[in-house]
Symmetry: C2
Subunit: 215 residues, 2 copies
DNA sequence: ACCTGAACACCGTTCAAGT
DNA sequence: ACCTGAACACCGTTCAAGT
């Protein structure tokens, strides 16, 4: 009678503390908005001492990095799920845009963390394939669109950077409550996306139903 | 002989501590990149006790708000300075874009703070006229461009939101070192701005020298 | 190999007391 | 009216000691 998962007092060794810490952190990130991220609170909630996490992460920013990478994995999944392989590039871009905005709205604190992790020092996280994966999706769609002729022929990398910056900026502004209708109108987000598409679509496909004029 | 500014030990009352705190904070924000903003360090540097700032700001976020507002004032000044009244709207937009990016690059920590102040709770800072002033500049240029015929006729508010999001996103990505040339190419920023302009310029003025193709 | 508890050097904030 | 100093409840991080 040394291990009964339900009634026993918890063992000295947690077993899989690393995973538990990460999951606890992600949970708290989703629950309490504006939570001041603190290692001690995570440890408390995971029912270990406040120094236990240091056996699994060298310091706080290491955990932050790990969470950010997981965030980028999830963003990529959300984007992939939004892509319809049968659709043409412009439709895909629109789907990507709404999926990106939706991800930010659903996980505001995680999203902020993703784009904030170690904002000070130079780190190699930005070069990680996982961090870059969502961005690569955008590139691929644009390149396909250029082959289809639906996307203006320009540097696809530049267009992808434009999309990425546009969506990131819009998501951040939305998360932070800066797109107040009183100042920015009721259709600001849709209209902003229209302008993004205006810049991407090749001459002919632009004027149609995709981007209605709203003068 | 009760007050000799140079040799006397400093008086019990600072005189204009509020202003001194703000200036010290701005200085430190510019000097040390990635500085963890702390009230106690500001007080130390201003040579007052760590509780003195509380006579002038109810709490830390109040100071943050004040600094953010000053940041928006300065951003507006930088943008205004970049505008050539003789230039047409597209040229103005390009000037605004580079001024915005330049401001972020020159004041990365202040810029981050501006768009981060009290990111948690709802606050009225986003409605402040000072916060909105730079955005209004963009609106005005776009409206003028629509009158000129150089800017596509769409909701100017939507176009302004698109510009704002695009520039904010690009600035943040640049500040955070996320636009690494290995992944994004050497001309990512210029190309991204080209795509932005592609979306804003009206049909005819687009193809010309403003936005060179770089396939 | 993994975890704890005390300890250290910090924070933000409050409050009686000083000038 | 403005400022100080001690005090409180927190952090992140380290390290000897426990299992």
């Amino acid at each position: 009678m040394t291990s009964d998962a339900s009634t026993e007092q918890k063992p000295y060794h947690h077993g899989d503390l690393r995973r538990a810490i990460i999951e606890t952190a992600l949970d708290m990130l989703q629950e309490q908005k504006g939570w001041q991220f603190t290692l001690r609170e995570i440890a408390r909630r995971a029912e270990v001492s406040h120094s236990a996490p240091y056996r699994h992460f060298p310091d706080k920013t290491a955990l932050l990095h790990e969470l950010a990478l997981i965030g980028f994995d999830r963003l990529r999944e959300a984007l992939v799920a939004a892509l319809d392989p049968a659709a043409d590039a412009p439709a895909c871009l629109q789907a990507l845009a709404y999926a990106h905005l939706g991800f930010g709205a659903a996980n505001p604190d995680l999203y902020r963390l993703m784009f904030n992790a170690d904002a000070g020092e130079p780190s190699d996280i930005h070069l990680d394939a996982r961090t870059q994966a969502p961005f690569r999706l955008v590139i691929e769609v644009l390149e396909r669109g250029q082959r289809e002729g639906t996307i203006r022929s320009r540097s696809a990398l530049g267009q992808a950077t434009a999309c990425w910056a546009h969506l990131h900026g819009l998501t951040m502004l939305a998360i932070d409550g800066r797109l107040v209708p009183e100042k920015v109108g009721d259709h600001a987000i849709e209209d902003a996306l229209t302008t993004l598409l205006d810049g991407l679509l090749s001459g002919e496909s632009a004027a149609s139903g995709r981007s209605p004029e709203r003068p």
